[in-house]
């Protein structure tokens, strides 16, 4: 297993990249979130292939995929499901919502009312959906890829920062480079291709990999490093609210999962460093009146500054 592991994940990433135009890092972060049992928040402009990512990932691990477009009149029941009243039987039957699948793309989650947002977030947190008193478990593996458009806040309900930490990783995809963009507009039907991708791993494999991720070795000095990073965020005056111990724990999990994606069974400092911004930047509250894209940039810059100010174990 140890020898097959690097190969498999590498092939998974390659598979996804056949249709997804973003960089390898993006795919790796998505896989990291999956292996660490976390969720992904993509803050990016429309039209850069978030759906493709979800589809390709789902197909590669032979899992189900749903895309939910959040609008401002979306109700929780549209998301989770509802009990349908059947007048013939005078009974209620549960019709599961689109959230019941392995990989969910919650598109433009900031467009919907807080009520629906909280329904989604609670589902993410609990791992099950409770409707009318009955609990319905969500599938395993379960990954939510939520997206926010950070530029346009027109008529939106942006996720408050306190809720953002439900997501393990926040990333931006960014525009593709010229070569890739040329490929895209060359006109291959990427969506169709994505739908026809062959699976590389099975869902059971993913579950096993998730267990393995927990077992990846983390050296003591690296734990010290993570703790130092968290402490630094709490100490700085530029950060109103620093990283909580839960955030530090999640960073460790993310680093472990990331190490696994490289085929290693031990964490190295680079894993932590490269996972730090995606994991921590949305967990802190910067002391700044800015909002939107500027705020994201500031949070990233602050975490990068923290990284620069903390000595790395060698």
């Amino acid at each position: 297993m140890a020898d097959a592991m690097p190969d498999r994940i590498r092939r998974l990433i390659e598979n996804i990249r056949r249709v997804f135009i973003g960089g390898e890092e993006t795919v790796r972060l998505a896989v990291t979130a999956l292996l660490a049992r976390g969720h992904l928040l993509v803050e990016d402009v429309p039209g850069i292939g978030k759906t493709l990512l979800g589809v390709a990932l789902a197909r590669s691990i032979d899992a189900s995929f749903h895309r939910i477009q959040f609008t401002n009149d979306l109700l929780p029941s549209d998301l989770l499901g509802f009990s349908r009243f059947d007048p013939r039987d005078n009974t209620f039957t549960f019709k599961p919502g689109p959230i019941f699948c392995n990989i969910v793309l919650a598109d433009e989650i900031n467009r919907t009312t807080p009520k629906t947002q909280s329904a989604l977030l609670e589902a993410m947190n609990d791992g099950r959906v409770t409707i009318d008193g009955a609990a319905y478990p969500l599938p395993d593996p379960f990954l939510i890829i939520a997206t926010q458009n950070p530029v346009e806040y027109h008529g939106t309900f942006p996720l408050p920062e306190a809720q953002l930490d439900r997501f393990l990783i926040r990333l931006e995809i960014g525009y593709p480079d010229a070569g890739r963009e040329k490929e895209i507009i060359r006109g291959r039907n990427l969506y169709g291709l994505a739908g026809r991708l062959d699976p590389v791993l099975s869902a059971a494999d993913i579950l096993a990999l998730q267990v393995e991720a927990e077992a990846v070795r983390v050296d003591d000095s690296l734990l010290d490093y993570i703790v130092a990073l968290a402490a630094d965020t709490r100490r700085r005056s530029a950060i109103k609210l620093g990283v909580s111990p839960r955030g530090a724990l999640l960073l460790r999990r993310a680093a472990q999962a990331r190490a696994l994606t490289f085929g290693r069974d031990y964490v190295v400092p680079d894993d932590i460093k490269q996972a730090a911004v995606p994991v921590l930047a949305h967990r802190i509250v910067v002391d700044s009146p800015s909002y939107g894209l500027a705020r994201i940039r500031e949070s990233d810059a602050v975490i990068e500054d923290v990284l620069r100010g903390t000595p790395v174990p060698l």
């Binding site: 009149d73 109700l75 019709k95 806040y153 031990y266 060698l314």
Partner: protein, 1003 residues
């Protein structure tokens, strides 16, 4: 670049020392002046270079509101190789200081700023300031102004008030499922909430029906504002902005209408930003207007001293101790003040100053009165002034050290040191000189203090270079500053006690009346020039004689301690006639322009010597080489006496100049004296006390000499070889018998007296002669330079048929100690070397003047010319090597950092190579992971690609928890070898290009 207030004081000090030096001719003051001038020059140069080439970028990080504080981030870049020291980034009253910015790195500061008006502001007045290194010059570099946009000032709007500018519309939009107004019933559809089912209606109709609610939006706001400048425009714009914020926060849709266009309905924070921006640029907000930063209270006030730096106490101690060099001062008076310094340290540490200020002020007044009315009269102006300075020092040391007190203390220390410079001559002065300037420099520049405390600090090389350059410049200034010489000024300053050439006790002039044993020792320390003796007969290329013996006067009566000249009338033949003396003086005859001795024969040849006597010698003796046959020039009238001492009729206080003709080596006028034998017997054979011992010793020294003259020569040899010449102070306090039978070490008058006494005991008439022994030949001016310290005493003895012969029993070299033993001899060598250095110090530094300089340069040209040319290539090579070494060594030392933490178990090779890389200029920043560092190294040099692999191996060893396999270890060693080879092959110096560390903090 401008002088700070302190710098102005330094310039003043330079002028004062220059005036003092020029007026008094005191070379030590020239040295001090040279040092101050060089410090000024070096400061100016360093201050200019410190900030040159620095780049700065200022930007405003966030959008801000009028009147609220925002953060201005200033990035200072240092693209040069050398670091920038101790500068501030200042915006008006706010400053941020940076102690040191490494070369090729950058430092970021954040300064608060306020935008005073709405719209486009250009913030100007951002400067970089530095008063490095010594706080003498302040250099200011203006930075480019920063443009920032200020949103209108927002007020809290307490309630929703419709006003002229804010209009509200309401629109009813039913929203399904949410709301409080009942809208209607409809059929149940998939996804409807079960709670909405209206059971009553459902039961009535049989199909599930749900209630539908509607929510009415009345949140559409239009804000209208005009931007034309008017009396209340700003207030209206501010109100509009506040209203916009209020409504957007409430979730409404807001539309902006202005006379310069508008914004359509929008919602959310981004829309608010757009509205604010539009409002900001409304009307005259579009014009960019310059605003300066609000300035503080003028130029930055110097920081209050928390605890005075140690350098303060050290400088005070050095200044105080340097006063010990002033010989006239009682050492006790100075040492009494030593505990004051300790007291001062104690007081400052405990922050407890028990002496109240009024009490000290009363004390000051009392002391001033004492100084003016008692001390000056009692101790003399010179000592009184020093007492005053001591009091000022004590006063300031005991006060709490605020900024002003510290500055005054600095000045007082300088004054004390200046006084010491004005009156010291000892070689130890040089040590104090170095110590004082080092301590004062450390006081002014903390870094210098830290460098002096422990070497190896970054920037040590820079400061060491600064120090060296300062001393070099000071020496050059000392050597080439013109020396003026004004007799009138000399006398004035001598009276004020500030002149080294004072007509004090210890001057040759004091010897013309009597010579006392032990008197001539202190004369060795008086380096005032007394005369110049030129030999016009000497051919141009001929070498001068090794020394000249300038005869002054002779003494006949010795009482065991003191020599005196007795008066004796005599008759002599002059010009064919018998002449008698009156008042024991025999006047020289005037012959045309000359005054001639009775023994003068115009037909016989005479050697000529020219004498220039300097003022302040204050004697009337006629000095001559050999016999004084005729004198040309000089004041009218001269006479001689029975001791063959010739004097002018008046002393030449203003200096004198005369030519001397000499027809024999030894005095000859005595031959014309009648009844000379009687004089010989009466005057030249007297002995103090019991002569038997002396006679016995004379016989012993003479050995088996055949006749009197041989005996005399033997005695002379015995003295020269068997006794030692000593300058020790106690050697001057001994008695003659102590000298002869005990220590056998003393000064020249002891030797001369002893030989005289022995000769007299043996029956040979002899007398003590004083004069000067000149050895310093000035090749440029072609004269002998004679100073007070050249005063000498020797012996003349009379032999029938031969006349008076000259003997000099003083050994010519400083003898070593009599005690045997290696240690004693070593000490003797050291002592001798020290004495030599001391003499050179006296001659070439303390006694430096125009003639010395000319002579030195002339000597250089003459002697070193051809030798110098031959040695030039070697010298140039040596200099180039030294310069290259000096340049590289600091560079390499700069690249060396603290040792890295040793890596984990399993791979020592990694750590070793890491160190080698660091030494080669590849430094790992603390925040870089191993891989990031490896990537950078490989990027900079392809030859080091093996480092990346070694890093991976190290990672595996370090973090995997598995032990290193043999093959992995082998591979590691191989890679290490490759890298070491690659490093060894290219010894090029790489400067770190990363953003380095810099210290900064708030002031």
């Amino acid at each position: 670049m401008r002088l700070t207030r302190f710098g102005f004081g330094v310039v003043l000090a330079a002028l004062v020392t220059m005036f003092g030096a020029a007026a008094s001719g005191n070379n030590l003051l020239y040295l001090v002046n040279g040092m101050i001038i060089s410090i000024l020059a070096v400061s100016a140069f360093a201050a200019r270079r410190n900030l040159s080439g620095l780049g700065a970028e200022a930007s405003v990080s966030t959008s801000s509101f009028q009147g609220t504080e925002l953060s201005l981030s200033v990035l200072i870049r240092n693209p040069r190789r050398r670091a920038a020291h101790r500068f501030d980034a200042a915006a008006g009253a706010e400053r941020r200081s940076c102690r040191r910015l490494e070369g090729r790195s950058a430092a970021a500061f954040s300064l608060p700023a306020t935008l005073p008006r709405r719209g486009r502001n250009i913030l100007s007045g951002l400067v970089l300031e530095s008063s490095y290194p010594f706080g003498i010059f302040r250099r200011r570099v203006d930075l480019a102004p920063v443009e920032a946009l200020a949103f209108p000032h927002l007020d809290e709007v307490p309630e929703l008030r419709p006003s002229r500018s804010v209009r509200q519309e309401s629109v009813a939009l039913p929203k399904r499922g949410v709301g409080d107004e009942f809208h209607g019933l409809r059929e149940y559809g998939d996804g409807d909430d079960a709670r909405l089912i209206d059971w009553k209606a459902t039961a009535r109709t049989g199909t599930p029906l749900v209630r539908e609610y509607a929510h009415y939006l009345d949140n559409r706001i239009t804000i209208t504002v005009e931007g034309k400048p008017g009396p209340s425009t700003e207030r209206e714009i501010s109100e509009a902005a506040s209203a916009a914020r209020f409504h957007i926060d409430a979730g409404a849709e807001v539309r902006l209408v202005t006379d310069e266009g508008g914004l359509d309905y929008g919602r959310g924070l981004l829309h608010l930003e757009a509205i604010l921006e539009k409002l900001a640029l409304l009307g005259n907000g579009k014009e960019a207007r310059r605003t300066a930063f609000p300035s503080g209270d003028g130029p930055s006030a110097p920081p209050p001293f928390q605890a005075p730096p140690a350098a303060l106490y050290i400088t005070a101690a050095i200044s105080l101790t340097s006063l010990l060099l002033v010989e006239e001062l009682n050492p006790l008076a100075v040492l009494l003040f030593a505990p004051l310094i300790l007291l001062s340290v104690l007081f400052d540490r405990k922050r407890f100053h028990p002496l109240p200020r009024p009490a000290l002020d009363v004390l000051s007044v009392l002391f001033l009165l004492y100084f003016l009315f008692i001390d000056i009269r009692f101790s003399g102006s010179q000592k009184a002034v020093i007492h005053l300075v001591l009091f000022i020092l004590a006063y300031l040391l005991l006060l709490p050290k605020s900024g002003r007190q510290v500055r005054q203390l600095f000045l007082a220390c300088f004054l004390a040191f200046y006084m010491a410079s004005g009156q010291a001559v000892s070689l130890w002065y040089f040590a104090f000189f170095l110590a004082y300037f080092a301590a004062a420099g450390a006081w002014l520049n903390e870094e210098l203090a830290r460098t002096l405390r422990k070497r190896g600090q970054p920037g040590a090389a820079t400061l060491a270079g600064l120090v060296l350059v300062s001393f070099g410049l000071a020496s050059a200034s000392f050597a080439f500053m013109p020396r003026l010489y004004s007799p009138r000024m000399q006398r004035f300053l001598a009276a004020a006690g500030l002149s080294r050439f004072q007509a004090g006790e210890r001057s040759f002039a004091g010897l013309t009346e009597r010579v006392e044993l032990g008197w001539m020792g202190p004369l060795r320390k008086n380096f005032a020039r007394v005369m110049q003796v030129a030999l016009p007969d000497l051919p141009k290329d001929a070498p001068p004689p090794a020394f000249i013996r300038v005869r002054g006067g002779a003494f006949d009566a010795f009482d065991g301690r003191r020599w005196r000249k007795t008066h004796a009338d005599f008759a002599y033949e002059s010009g064919g006639r018998r002449t008698a003396t009156r008042h024991a003086l025999a006047w020289l005859r005037r012959d045309g322009r000359m005054l001639v001795s009775p023994a003068y024969d115009p037909t016989k040849p005479a050697s000529v010597a020219e004498f220039i006597i300097f003022p302040l010698l204050n004697t009337s003796l006629v000095f001559g080489l050999g016999d004084i046959s005729a004198i040309e020039g000089g004041p009218a009238g001269a006479f001689f006496d029975f001791t063959d001492t010739v004097s002018f009729s008046s002393s030449y206080a203003e200096g004198g100049r005369y030519r001397l003709l000499s027809q024999s080596e030894t005095p000859s006028a005595f031959r014309l004296i009648e009844d000379y034998d009687r004089i010989l017997k009466d005057k030249y054979l007297g002995l103090p006390g019991d002569g038997a011992r002396y006679a016995a010793l004379a016989r012993e020294f003479a050995g088996g000499a055949a006749d009197a003259i041989e005996a005399a020569r033997a005695i002379e040899v015995r003295f020269r070889a068997g006794f030692s010449y000593s300058l020790a102070a106690d050697a001057g306090r001994q008695s003659l018998d102590d000298f002869l039978f005990g220590s056998r070490a003393g000064n020249c008058e002891f030797f001369a007296t002893a030989m005289c006494v022995l000769l007299r005991a043996a029956g040979t008439p002899s007398r003590l002669v004083i004069g000067f022994l000149g050895e310093e030949w000035n090749a440029y001016g072609r004269f002998f330079d004679i100073r007070q310290s050249d005063a000498h005493a020797w012996v003349e003895a009379y032999f029938p048929g031969r006349g008076w012969e000259t003997f000099d029993p003083t050994p010519s070299v400083l003898g070593s100690s009599r005690a045997p033993g290696l240690l004693a001899r070593l000490w003797g060598v050291i002592d001798q070397a020290f004495q030599t250095v001391q003499f050179r110090w006296y001659r070439y530094v303390v006694g430096f003047d125009t003639e010395t300089r000319q002579n030195a340069i002339y000597g250089l040209e003459l002697n070193l010319g051809p030798a110098f040319l031959k040695a030039l290539p070697f010298l140039a090579l040596a200099f180039g090597a030294a310069a290259g070494f000096a340049l590289l060594k600091p560079g390499r030392r700069l690249a060396k950092r603290r040792s890295r933490r040793r890596p984990g178990p399993g791979n020592g090779a990694y750590g070793e190579i890491l160190e080698r890389l660091a030494r080669a200029g590849y430094r790992r920043e603390p925040w870089q992971t191993g891989r990031e560092f490896a990537a950078e190294v490989v990027r900079r040099s392809q030859d080091l690609a093996a480092w990346a692999d070694l890093t991976e191996l190290h990672y595996r060893a370090r973090f995997s928890g598995r032990s290193v396999s043999a093959s992995e270890a082998e591979e590691a060693r191989r890679l290490a070898g490759l890298i070491a080879a690659a490093l060894g092959a290219s010894k090029r110096l790489h400067s770190p290009a990363s953003v380095g560390a810099s210290e900064y903090g708030r002031k």
